[in-house]
Symmetry: C2
Subunit: 245 residues, 2 copies
C-alpha cells in the first residue's frame, strides 16, 4: 500500500466545492471517481482544504492510500486523461504512510482577487470580485497589518460551534496591485470557515472609507461578527499553496 | 433618429456566436433584447464581425438606429445593468447616419492564443488552444510572413460559394510569446470564413515540423483546402479590434 500525495489545480466555477456530496459535481467526487477508474479499487481522498463552491485552486493538496501498481511517473498523465478540463493534477508523489493532507499541513496560502476598475470585465466575472469605486490601497494595507499574528478570529468567521478553537495564526498578509486587480494574499496555519472572505470584505470597507484602518483592530478584539464586513463572493478566492514540514 | 455605435467585450464560452438565431443564446440576440428594453422600440443590430460559437471579443463593434431619447452619457451604465456577466458594453457613441459597423470597417484585428506548455491549465481551457509539445517559434514566424499582402486565401477558408471574392489583404501578422502562451495576431481588411483558425492550424503544423515554413507559400498558391492545416478550435480566438476610417 502506497500513500499518494496529489497537487491539484482547478477552476471552481462549475464545482460545488471540494467536499463530496450526493448528486452534485464536487472536486473530490470527480477526482475520486477518476482515481478509482485507474486503480480499480475504492479510495478515500483526503483534501488539505475544503474549498467552497466557486473557489479556485492553484495548489490544492490531497492524499489517498492505494495498492494500485501503476508506476508513479505514469500516474499524472493517466489520471489527467480521465479528468475534465477544469481539473488538473500537477504532481503526484509517494509519501510517508503517516502523511495526512489536512492534518500534516503547517500553513495554507489563500489569495482574494479584487478587480478594482470602473468597468467590469466579461472575462473576470468568475475569477475576481468587481469593485467599481476606487479603493485606497494604503489604508487597506494599514488595516491589514492588525491581523498578523495569533488572534481569536471569531469576528471574521461564520458561526462556529462552541467547542471549536477560534485562534489562528496569520503568518503574513499582503496586498499587491497587478494590472487592474488587487491581490490580497493571506498565509495562516489554517483558516476558520469564511475567514478570508470576511477579512476581504472588511478590508474593502477600509479601502472605501467606511471603516478606519484602526477599526480592523477593534473588530478583531470585539469578537463580534456583526462588526466585520460581509463575506465577499467565493469566485474571487484561490487556494494558492499548502505547506508541509 | 440617432445612429449608435457600440464597442463590446464578451466571453464567447456560453454564446452560440454573434449572429441571432432562434432558441439559442447569441451575443446579438442578448444585446438586442437589452437595447429594446431600454429604448422601448425594435432595433436592428449590425455587427462588424460574425464571431463563431466560443469566439471571444475584446472590441467587437455594432451599430443600430434608434429614436431613443436616453442621454448618450447614461447609455453605457443603463445598458450594462441589463446585460449578463459575460457581455459588457465598453463604449457608446453617436455616429454619422451612414456609418455601418460591417461595411464601414477598414480592418479587423484577430488574435489566436496557443497555450504551449507541457501541462494544461484548468483556467485556460475555454480561452486558448493547448499544445503540449514544443513549437518552434522561429519557424512559425518565417512561415507566417508568406501570408502578408493581398492573396487568394481559398486554401485557408471553409468552403466558399462560387461567387465569393476569395482575395483578402493581410496587413500584418505577428507571433508573440506571453508567458506560456503564443499569441498569433492577424490584421486584415476582412477574413474569409474559418480563415484565421486555418492559418493558426497551419502555423502550428509548421511549428511542430510537419510543414516547412516555405510550405505555407505553396499551400497559399495551391488554393487547395486539403493542404492547409485543420481549423483549430474557436475558444482560442479573440476579435481584438475593428478599425474605421
Amino acid at each position: 500500500v502506497r500513500n499518494f500525495k496529489l497537487t491539484l489545480q482547478y477552476d471552481g466555477t462549475h464545482f460545488h466545492g471540494w467536499q463530496k456530496q450526493p448528486n452534485v459535481r464536487t472536486v473530490s467526487g470527480v477526482l475520486e471517481c477518476a482515481i478509482e477508474k485507474l486503480s480499480k479499487e475504492r479510495v478515500k481522498l483526503i483534501g488539505a482544504s475544503r474549498t467552497d463552491k466557486g473557489v479556485h485552486a492553484y495548489g490544492q493538496v490531497a492524499n489517498f492510500h492505494s495498492r494500485c501498481k501503476i508506476p508513479l511517473e505514469k500516474f499524472p498523465l493517466a489520471l489527467n486523461s480521465l479528468l475534465p478540463h477544469d481539473l488538473v493534477v500537477k504532481d503526484v508523489e509517494c509519501v510517508r504512510d503517516d502523511f495526512h493532507a489536512r492534518f500534516s499541513a503547517i500553513s495554507r496560502h489563500y489569495r482574494y482577487v479584487i478587480l478594482n476598475h470602473r468597468e467590469r470585465s466579461p472575462f473576470q466575472s468568475n475569477y475576481s470580485l468587481w469593485i467599481p469605486y476606487s479603493l485606497d490601497f494604503e489604508r487597506m494595507m494599514e488595516g491589514a497589518k492588525y491581523l498578523i499574528g495569533c488572534h481569536d478570529f471569531t469576528a471574521f468567521s461564520s458561526s462556529l460551534s462552541e467547542d471549536r478553537n477560534p485562534y489562528r495564526t496569520i503568518k503574513s498578509i499582503s496586498l499587491k496591485k497587478e494590472g487592474e486587480c488587487i491581490n490580497l494574499d493571506v498565509v495562516s496555519d489554517s483558516f476558520l470557515p469564511g475567514m478570508i472572505r470576511r477579512i476581504a470584505g472588511t478590508l474593502i470597507r477600509v479601502g472605501c472609507g467606511k471603516i478606519q484602518p484602526g477599526g480592523v483592530y477593534e473588530i478583531l478584539t470585539s469578537r463580534d461578527r456583526s462588526l466585520a464586513g460581509p463575506a465577499v463572493q467565493p469566485h474571487g478566492l484561490y487556494l494558492v499553496e499548502v505547506e508541509y514540514p
